[in-house]
Symmetry: C2
Subunit: 144 residues, 2 copies
Amino acid sequence: MKISTKGRYALRLMLDIAINGSVNPVPLKDTAERQSISVKYLEQIISSLVRGGLVSSIRGPQGGYRLIKAPSEYTVGMILRQVEGSLVPVACLEDGVEGCSRQIECVTLRIWKELDQAIRGVVDKYTLEDLMIWQEEMGDNYVI
Amino acid sequence: MKISTKGRYALRLMLDIAINGSVNPVPLKDTAERQSISVKYLEQIISSLVRGGLVSSIRGPQGGYRLIKAPSEYTVGMILRQVEGSLVPVACLEDGVEGCSRQIECVTLRIWKELDQAIRGVVDKYTLEDLMIWQEEMGDNYVI
DNA sequence: TCATTTACCTAGTGTGTCAATATGAATTAT
DNA sequence: ATAATTCATATTGACACACTAGGTAAATGA
């Protein structure tokens, strides 16, 4: 019942690009330094974000990554799902799965459905823009 | 971000004991048959529930397991936490952990805290009694 | 007393995921 | 041409997951 490092790093990575990429694309090396995450690991994560169409990439010197949409268009849930896969708490709630044979009589399913709603309620409520605002509120003493 | 089989089975196991154990203790063999879970695996799960003081055991013929308290005294969260460990979505929210060095400047932490609250809000809201009632509402056509 | 039924305990096993590293190729600005 | 960057794939070690196996201990009752 944990968010993996991939998910957590992806969020920090996206936030880092949002904050530092308003004029030039952000190279992974810079993010890696700011966030204390290895470039190599970030490469894996960003490749998933590129595939998912969340960021675009520019190769070569002066290259890097850029958000495709406005920060307010990215919910936390979108980012997490892209790198972690679905966030549903049990497999039988997965999209495209028609559930187990006990479905009808399964009272615990009711719990899992509510849990799923609760999780979605949080991760789909906040966007990158919210995170940026919170970051600003904290002042410039702290670099994210 | 998944509830493991241990957690899901533990819930079904506790519910099975709650429903079938009002007069006699419930042997694992019976639960295993009703729930289609191996006795061996249930043994592991129940041992954790015994250690946690959620159920008591009686050995020998006519033995089995009994709830120690009323069904309404067991939240879903208590049961899940006993067999799964903490349900917090990120390690830095774990009890007794003083958090990572980025704590202060970590805006994502705010998300994780809300997520934690949301999860707790669901699993600590419902009890075994609720599950029993739902089960009854479904009629006797279905055996849990 | 002895067989049977139950709980209890410890270890093992195959599979997969997590959290990275490593190596190298392709692209592009200067 | 060189350096900076992204892109692609493989590998690694540790650990967790989902079980299974084998045996011990206690209680019952015939």
